[in-house]
């Protein structure tokens, strides 16, 4: 297995990807944006059949990913993991700028790398500074984000969960995947 950096995307012509990433919170300002989610999604259209891969990442305030999931029906490829991380990580800059200029939680297509598009959902609440990153497609993204947000709040209510740490819950994972199937 060759571990060559496949970052020079010579993307197949009919591959459309969307990506999304996360968001930062300035600690000095009152916690206005506390949750941010980001979404990104890769869609492959071939012969009219839509196969999609999406990477969904929830990012905490310190730019640390606390939840990662590869969603979608396309077969998981070995080399995509670090690509997704790279792209989402790079999109954080844009999100940081953008999050303070708008009151919308859902930021569609904030960043773009080649065919990959990053969408972000910035959660705003006074409770805890957490970001979420999701990777998504089309109209379902927003609903997906909102539902995942609810799930995430449930996780936060768990007294055993330390905000900002990795989300170890397999229940959460299953739920997110189910939602992804529903909306994607």
């Amino acid at each position: 297995m060759n571990y060559l950096p496949n970052l020079c995307y010579q993307a197949p012509p009919n591959l459309a990807n969307e990506i999304c990433q996360h968001l930062p919170v300035d600690e000095t300002s009152i916690g206005k944006f506390i949750f941010s989610w980001q979404i990104f999604n890769a869609v492959q259209c071939s012969l009219g059949v839509m196969a999609s891969t999406a990477c969904f990442i929830i990012v905490s305030r310190n730019d640390i990913p606390i939840y990662e999931a590869e969603l979608g029906s396309a077969p998981k490829k070995e080399e995509t993991a670090h690509q997704h991380q790279f792209i989402l990580h790079a999109a954080l800059d844009i999100v940081q700028d953008l999050a303070w200029t708008t009151s919308a939680m859902f930021l569609k297509a904030v960043d773009r790398f080649n065919d990959l598009v990053v969408s972000v959902y910035v959660t705003a609440a006074h409770i805890l500074p957490i970001f979420k990153v999701v990777y998504f497609l089309l109209d379902g993204i927003k609903s997906f984000f909102q539902e995942v947000h609810e799930l995430y709040i449930k996780i936060l209510l768990n007294p055993l969960y330390l905000p900002g740490s990795r989300i170890p819950s397999s229940h959460f994972d299953t739920k997110v995947r189910a939602l992804a199937r529903k909306y994607l």
Partner: protein, 1183 residues
């Protein structure tokens, strides 16, 4: 024109790059003359084409006068005036990049730049000459295109040598030959260009008389103003050292070695200078000015004005029908479009940007209507640049550039070079206006279209733009560096690749995006390995080894590559604290034997509390001498922790009181800790708890110690270090030395299996004399600590461990650590037991562990720094430092008993009675005496009498006619489970001693059996008088019979009762045969109902079967029942045989030991104060 604009980088670049081209045609003899200087003619003249300080008056088309102060001519051979060959250009660019990497002075071994310094370096990096040179070369790669006029030659310089035959004809020949560039021949530009005739005379070939004649001929033929003559090579010999060599910047390093222009003297140079200045100011500029006027008039006549516009529209419309041929020779030099373009470009070159812009505007609509996209894009590009130079509308400028860029891209490969050039100008434009973020975006767009090498350079520039934007976009910076690095690698520029990746590390350092970190470190490591820098490669590879989140394939790849690099290194690689496998420090468990010895591993695992409570009365109390009330507390703790001798050892645990190392000693080395520990130890034992060693030696040591840590320790001659006696051991040879065992848990974080070999402890055994030295050493280390960085500290620790390891290897006689080899499957944990056996007295310090991964990577891991960190965090002084718990004082060997119980089953049925044998072996040569034993619960286990061991079981329990049984012993000490062996019992050296035990499985369940055997040493030193042997077994007791009894008064007789006994076999498979029911004591007489007793056919109870029997009970005792009195006559009636006829004869005597003893324990356990009647049922297992 704005000063700021023209002083920007782009402004300067445009003034330098978009300048008139002069076509040069020479004869071979001219070149020959020039080559004596190591230069071609163009190279010779080139440095003098740059005029920074001229003053040429110019008039615009509308007669506005202005002056040009700065000007430049570009000289090219006619053969060079063509579109550059793609491959050649590619090759040239590659060389440029390679040269830059060779010149790159980056020190690869230094740490990557810190994030804080990044911004400072970013400015210089982004403007470094590396990028500028590359960008310039990239722009040149697209020059001499037919669709733009500024690369078209403005003038032609014909050069003939005075040596040529018939120079006049030569001039004519030169211009008539077919070697003209295709631009002229194809009609893309006007072949009637300004001509200038130059005669070159080589002074080495003789005087200039002949040349003077020729020049006069030329003047008469071509016109006086168009002809010039220059003399070169006037210097007689190599004048050499010219201070400011004007060619230096034009030539590459390789050629600089020669003395360029060595035959040119000052006159020659000034002559050349004059020539070029005249050429530009007197010929070229006026010529261009003239042409601008002419063209402007022409354009005005045909295109300006309302009428012309209408006409043009009409005419254009008709043209729409023609096929779209953007690249075809649709526009010759005579077409009005080409003329407008020439007009615009000339105006641009003469800095009349207003005129240029208006013409470009006019042209762009035309081209757009004609769908001549390449030309359209070229015009848009120039419009953008004009806007920029005029510093007018930024928006328009950007729009034009964007338009041009995307139009070029639409053209496909033919427009790619131009797109790149346009993009570069665009980025410079954005950078000049501090729009770095946008500039970075443009760089990325350029990189998408370029081959990987160019893309790499573009992306690297993009990354610096992100860094320079406000606020700095660090994430993007890192990402683009990585992108650029991977492309550098694809194009074989490894050094560049490494540089890019290394810079990106500063962004990704310490962040939780694991895949990113793995990718970056892995590739840096790999590339370093390719460059042969293996140590650096390994440093980076180490970062990716622990990659549990990666897939199996990737993990294998990482590990394989890592091991490969280690192999290439050519020696075993040593690393400190490799996290593969992970050593779980909380699992660290030290097993040693002091006065407590263990018979088996299971005994070790029993909690110390249980043993302690068991042995409470068994062992003699440690005499605590209180000197004052302050002493009492620590001393008591000492009792728990510090007395231990193991064949050879004493362990000292650090008492909380002595955890005085604050934050300052967190960095302290193990030596220092050792020193402090000893101080603590001295204080602890100050009262003479253990043995006292007199003499000056200890006093001296105290002095040293006191010096190291003044206030805490008072120098007191009385306090001694309790090491073993100095006496030589009689018969010391052959004594089994007792090992210290350390249990460690290794966890494999990977999904693949790894193999470990030579896993072994690193220990240090200091003989007492060494102690002082090591303390002093420790102090020295301590002094240095303040200046050590974290890495330095690690290195130091590693060095220390290594030296200790090697020292041990040299003196292998004093220590014998075990070595273990094993392999760990993916994600598995394994507990490994490592042992070390000290051979001489002294202080043994277990410092760490060492293992070899896959046979090539040696890892040293010390035990204490985890705790060190904890201390820093929590300031918890009470946390015991492992370094202190792992310090042992080794003393001389002592006897040790080993023990086991024979015949103990793992499983028993409730109520089962067995005879066991306790066997004790003395492994040493010394006898032990004063044996005592204590058992945790005598209900289950009870020591018998020595005779029992020989008796036959179970027949010894049968009722004997003689009825001579001793009384039941039941005294207090037996109830508590303590048992003293007879006083005369001693176990001689290497002897075995057996003693019977009775086991009675009183209740069902899992029963732990704890036995502690206490013994004393006879003739040895007094620091350890006794030891205990701890034996532990687990017994699983299964349920057997469940018996319930109902007693009711007999309705007919006053002193008789009816007894109903219900018996259920609760066992799962076993069958039982009932044998006998007995009433304990002599008060009751029992008989079965019906009286003959043979009525029961079912004395065999199979599993699950229930049975009821009835008995008659008669109170026969008028005498008071005292529980222990017994007489054979009264006992007789208390037993009823339940068995078959054959078994009727044999009845068991329930008043014999051990039955009666167990009965007593049972009673005392249930604590029923009034016991009227006890029954015993004897059964036989069916088998």
């Amino acid at each position: 024109m704005d000063a700021a604009t023209s002083s920007s980088y782009l402004g300067k670049m445009l003034i330098e790059e978009i300048t008139p081209v002069v076509m040069v045609i020479t004869t071979p003899l001219v070149e020959q003359s020039c080559q004596t200087n190591g230069l071609s003619f163009v190279q010779l003249v080139q440095p003098f084409c740059n005029f920074d300080n001229i003053d040429v008056p110019v008039r615009t088309a509308s007669d506005q006068p202005y002056r040009l102060h700065q000007f430049k001519l570009r000289l090219h051979y006619a053969s060079d005036i063509r579109h550059p060959n793609t491959e050649a250009a590619e090759e040239h660019l590659k060389q440029v990049v390679t040269r830059a990497s060779d010149n790159d002075l980056t020190d690869f071994s230094s740490d990557p730049p810190q994030l804080e310094n990044l911004l400072q370096t970013a400015q210089s990096e982004s403007q470094s000459s590396r990028f500028q040179v590359f960008n310039k070369e990239l722009i040149h790669a697209s020059s001499f295109s037919e669709h733009e006029a500024f690369d078209h030659p403005v003038a032609c310089l014909l050069v003939v040598s005075s040596k040529d035959n018939e120079p006049i004809n030569k001039f004519v020949d030169l211009f008539n030959t077919n070697q003209f560039p295709s631009l002229l021949n194809d009609g893309a530009m006007d072949p009637k260009i300004l001509k200038h005739y130059l005669l070159v005379h080589d002074n080495q070939d003789g005087t200039s008389e002949k040349a003077t004649n020729i020049i006069s001929d030329m003047r008469s033929t071509f016109g006086s103003s168009e002809c010039r003559m220059i003399c070169i090579n006037s210097a007689q010999n190599e004048s050499g050292d010219r201070q400011d060599n004007p060619w230096a910047i034009y030539k590459s390093d390789a050629q600089l070695g020669q003395d360029l222009g060595c035959f040119l003297n000052f006159d020659d140079l000034s002559e050349i200078k004059d020539l070029m200045q005249d050429l530009s100011s007197k010929h070229i500029i006026p010529h261009m000015e003239q042409k601008i006027r002419v063209l402007n008039q022409q354009v005005s006549a045909t295109r300006k004005g309302f009428r012309n516009q209408i006409k043009n529209l009409w005419w254009r419309k008709g043209k729409d029908d023609t096929p779209d041929a953007p690249t075809g020779p649709m526009y010759t030099f005579s077409s009005i479009e080409s003329q407008i373009r020439v007009l615009g470009d000339y105006a641009f070159m003469l800095r009349d940007y207003e005129l240029a812009l208006s013409n470009y505007r006019l042209l762009s609509t035309d081209y757009k209507l004609d769908k001549a996209w390449k030309r359209y894009a070229g015009v848009q590009e120039m419009m953008g640049l004009s806007f920029f130079m005029l510093d007018q509308s930024r928006k328009d400028a950007e729009y034009c550039m964007e338009n041009a860029f995307s139009t070029y891209l639409k053209l496909g490969s033919s427009g790619q070079r131009n797109a790149t050039r346009c993009g570069l100008w665009w980025t410079e434009m954005l950078k000049a206006r501090d729009q770095y973020k946008e500039a970075a975006g443009v760089y990325s767009r350029i990189s998408n279209e370029e081959p990987s090498l160019h893309a790499a350079v573009m992306l690297e520039q993009a990354s610096y733009c992100y860094l320079l934007s406000n606020p700095p976009l660090l994430h993007k910076y890192g990402f683009h560096l990585v992108l650029s690095g991977s492309r550098y690698y694809i194009s074989d520029q490894r050094k560049h690749a490494i540089r890019a990746y290394r810079s990106s590390l500063s962004v990704y350092k310490g962040n939780a995006w694991k895949y990113i970190n793995d990718h970056v470190h892995y590739h840096i490591g790999k590339w370093y390995a390719v460059l042969g820098m293996h140590d650096l490669a390994i440093k980076h590879m180490l970062q990716v080894l622990v990659c549990g989140h990666q897939s199996i394939v990737t993990q294998e790849l990482f590990l394989r590559d890592f091991l490969q690099i280690v192999q290439q290194l050519g020696k075993t690689f040593e690393v400190f604290r490799l996290q593969l496998p992970i050593l779980s420090m909380p699992s660290l468990k030290v097993i040693f034997e002091d006065h407590r010895t263990y018979a088996s591993l299971s005994a070790v695992n029993v909690k110390e509390n249980l043993w302690k409570s068991l042995e409470e009365d068994l062992v003699p109390a440690v005499p605590v001498m209180r000197t004052n009330w302050l002493d009492s507390q620590p001393r008591r703790k000492d009792k728990d922790s510090s007395i231990c001798v193991a064949g050879v050892l004493v362990i000292w645990r650090r008492d909380p009181v002595f955890g005085f190392g604050g934050a300052d000693d967190d960095v302290a080395s193990g030596y220092t800790r050792g020193t402090r520990l000893l101080e603590g130890l001295n204080l602890n034992l100050g009262g003479g708890v253990l043995m006292r060693e007199a003499g000056g030696k200890s006093e001296r040591r105290n002095h040293v110690l006191g010096g190291t840590d003044g206030g805490l320790y008072s120098t007191d001659g009385d306090k001694t270090v309790p090491v073993g006696t100095r006496r030589t051991i009689p018969g010391g040879r052959g004594i089994v030395l007792e090992a210290i065992k350390v249990d460690l848990e290794f966890k494999n974080p990977l999904k693949i299996s790894i193999s470990l070999s030579e896993v072994s402890l690193i220990c240090q055994l200091s003989v007492k004399a060494d102690l002082v030295e090591s303390e002093i050493h420790g102090q020295n280390v301590n002094d240095m600590d303040g200046h050590l960085s974290a890495t330095g500290f690690h290195n130091l620790e590693m060095e220390k461990l290594k030296s200790i390891w090697e020292m041990k290897a040299c003196s292998s006689s004093s220590l014998v650590p075990s070595e273990v080899d094993f392999s760990l499957d993916g994600l598995k944990k394994t507990v490994v037991q490592l042992t070390v056996t000290p051979q001489v007295e002294g202080v043994l310090n277990i410092i760490g562990v060492r293992w070899k991964l896959s046979g090539s990577v040696v890892t040293y891991h010390n035990f204490d720094s985890n705790v060190l960190k904890k201390r820093v965090k929590g300031k918890r002084r009470s946390a015991k430092s492992p370094s202190s718990t792992l310090k042992f004082t080794v003393i001389e060997s002592l006897p040790k008993l080993e023990g086991s119980i024979h015949h103990l089953p793992e499983r028993a049925y409730a109520g089962e009675l067995r005879r066991l044998v306790l066997e004790l072996r003395n492994q040493s040569k010394f006898p032990v005496k004063n044996l005592k034993m204590k058992i945790n619960d005598p209900r289950y286990l009870y020591p018998g009498r020595f005779e029992d061991i020989k008796a036959e079981f179970p027949s010894c329990l049968e009722k004997q006619t003689s009825c001579e049984r001793s009384n039941v012993r039941a005294n207090a000490s037996q109830l508590s489970g303590e048992f003293s062996f007879p006083e005369d019992v001693t176990i001689q050296g290497e002897a075995t001693f057996s003693w019977p035990l009775w086991l009675h499985a009183a209740t069902s369940g899992r029963i732990p059996l704890l036995i502690s055997v206490y013994y004393e040493m006879d003739n040895l030193s007094s620091d350890m008088r006794y030891r205990t042997l701890r034996i532990h077994y687990n017994l699983e007791v299964l349920p057997s019979l469940d018996v319930s009894i109902q007693i009711s008064r007999c309705p007919s007789r006053l002193k008789e009762f009816l007894v109903r006994v219900d018996i259920v076999n609760k066992s799962s498979s076993e069958s039982f045969r009932l044998h006998q029911l007995s009433s304990v004591g002599c008060k009751w007489e029992m008989s079965s109902l019906p009286p003959n007793g043979s009525a029961s056919p079912s004395e065999l109870l199979t599993a699950g079967q229930a049975l009821s029997r009835f008995f008659n009970l008669k109170d026969c005792g008028k005498s008071t029942y005292d529980g222990t009195s017994s007489s054979p006559s009264t006992l007789r009636g208390s037993d009823v045989s339940l068995g078959s006829e054959g078994g009727k004869d044999i009845l068991f005597d329930i008043s014999s030991t051990p039955l009666a003893d167990f009965h007593n324990y049972e009673r005392s356990h249930q604590e029923k104060s009034i016991e009227v009647c006890d029954f015993s049922i004897m059964t036989w297992a069916s088998k």
